[in-house]
Amino acid sequence: MKRLKKENLAPFLEEMNNKRTVYCPQSVDEKDIILAPLGKGKITDEACKTSISFKSMLFPQKEEINNFSKDGVEKILDTGKTAVFGVRACDFRSMEFVDAFMARNEMKDPFYFAKRNNILVMTLACNCPVSETCFCTDTGKAPFLEKGFDLQFFDAGSFYIVESQSREGDKVLESDYFTGSDSKDGETLSKIKDNSMKAEMQAPGFAKAVEWLKGNEPEPEFWDDLATACIACGGCSFVCPTCTCSNIFDSPSNGGFMRFRTWDTCMYEGFSRETSGHNPRGSLGSRLARRYLHKIKDDPENYGVSGCVGCGRCSDACPVGLGMIEIIKQINRI
């Protein structure tokens, strides 16, 4: 366990930036907080929810995947070293979920793991909910991590208490910006953790809904009803840290062709439409069911972990008041 003074956060990240491209939440124009490479704005030193999670570092909105040239076809692997600071526990869990997904069936996604194997993740625990739509505790998890991380920072006022759980993390803590911990830090840490668990959060009734879904499923009419509000904008998927649906397309480039992969969403009508016109999910209700149900029903069955980490971004983004919190509340009313 070590300490880092908050005033040393920026210089520490700058120092790291010499070795890796460092991303962290920054406020731009005193208004939006975005996750960006250092230098975009003012570093946010408290836990906060960036509108897009750091999934965009590992699974970008648009990426080049294959280069078709005269010499053949090449895979494009981005192995640049990166680091990210300020990742909350829920977003870290979303990465663990995506890790499992991207490695399914012994077929590891090469583009994802090229980046994943070269990222250093520094998480920052939440002392209290950072927005009204946070509900991680309702999913049965804590606003901090127990295991699996390299470095976890806790906000202790004017300084951070920092835990390492890996060799990579230990190496980072060798930087002169970190100082030894106080004998009381262990106690402070327990207090922070206790308080964060007691903090009041949204409680849509996640566990109850998940339990009910094990043997039941809402009728199609349930979804058709909700779909009368949905405008199929796809926002809920794009902002979701565990959503990984993608499109693939080819485009001319440098005398050859480039294959791109981009984010896609199962909320769009054309997502599952075949050339014949047959569409197994032609109705918006069936797509809404897919988007929300697989996270909390199929994913736990397939991967043993929930596909929803309770970040609340879909609830923030939805322009018509749907999103996971509302969906869970509605399921619990059946």
Partner: protein, 286 residues
């Protein structure tokens, strides 16, 4: 977390298109052609092996990619045969290519039919239209190892007598006594058809099956599945002895892009062949 070592082989091929040459193009019925492909890299060509019912992701270079079933059987390696319908952007571009031109392929992907499980059993193949493409691979596999299987039945429904795929190949097998054929056409405007006119389900009146030993493989247009399965139920064939090959919109073919999901399954990796008893309860499946 410790960095992971990149896994070789399977992972390396996931998103790695390999160049292939079009060796021959054999016209089929109108709008359909059979393409014979050969991987250009000799080592890759030698290593390429597939199961019947698997598919490839075919790239027409500069245009895009589409999933296409492998029509040739694993028992005849070397050349990859695909039967393609001109349907949209990629397939139309493919129809503009000539023998000698290059394409790229990824795969083979998907699970395929459980050939070993069918051994020693009566096998019934039921195809509608282009659904014969993957089933031809299974049909030829069985014929190439005929002694390992018991009775073999092929039921094949087409729109009209001019729409029968692999017509000459099928005609060439007509005098074999170790396979029973039943053909249907939906309509016969020219009045040239001597066999059954009507939908493929009408053929079931003509056959006797032993439900205990009969295994079915089926592939066709979406509408066909429910009706055929009803007939199979009437024949008392257990639901876990029916295999359906399903089509879905696919982009990656390797379980990443999400386009092909059927309930909790991914059609590209868990399918395209499903044991019907596994998907019974999934409303959107068939």
């Amino acid at each position: 977390m410790e960095p992971e070592v990149q896994q070789k082989n399977k992972t390396d091929l996931v998103f790695q298109p390999q160049l292939a040459r079009i060796e021959r193009i054999l016209p089929q019925i109108s709008g359909h052609r059979l393409f014979q492909l050969k991987l250009i890299n000799e080592e890759a060509a030698e290593q390429f092996s597939h199961l019947c019912g698997q598919f490839i992701e075919l790239t027409v270079i500069g245009v895009g990619e589409a999933p296409i079933s492998i029509s040739s059987p694993p028992s005849r390696p070397g050349t990859i045969e695909i039967c393609v319908r001109k349907a949209g952007v990629v397939t139309s571009a493919l129809f503009k290519l000539h023998p000698g031109d290059q394409v790229a392929i990824r795969g083979p992907f998907g699970n395929g039919f459980p050939l070993d499980e069918l051994k020693g059993k009566d096998v019934m193949l039921i195809a509608g239209g282009l659904g014969l493409a993957p089933l031809r691979s299974l049909l030829l596999s069985i014929l190439d190892d005929r002694a390992s299987f018991k009775d073999l039945v092929l039921m094949y429904g087409s729109r009209n007598p001019n729409d029968i795929l692999f017509k000459y190949e099928l005609l060439g097998m007509m005098n074999r006594t170790d396979i029973k054929y039943f053909f249907s056409v939906d309509s016969d405007d020219e009045g040239i058809w001597k066999q059954y006119v009507g939908v493929v389900t009408g053929l079931f009146e003509r056959i006797e099956v032993n439900p205990e030993t009969t295994f079915c493989a089926l592939c066709g247009p979406p509408i066909m599945y429910r009706f055929v399965i009803q007939e199979l139920k009437k024949k008392k064939i257990p639901m876990d002895q029916i295999f359906v090959s399903l089509e879905r919109m696919m982009k990656c073919g390797v379980g990443k892009c999400g386009h092909c999901t059927i309930g909790k399954y991914y059609c590209c990796t868990d399918g395209p062949v499903f044991r019907y008893s596994d998907i019974l309860d999934i409303k959107e499946a068939v």
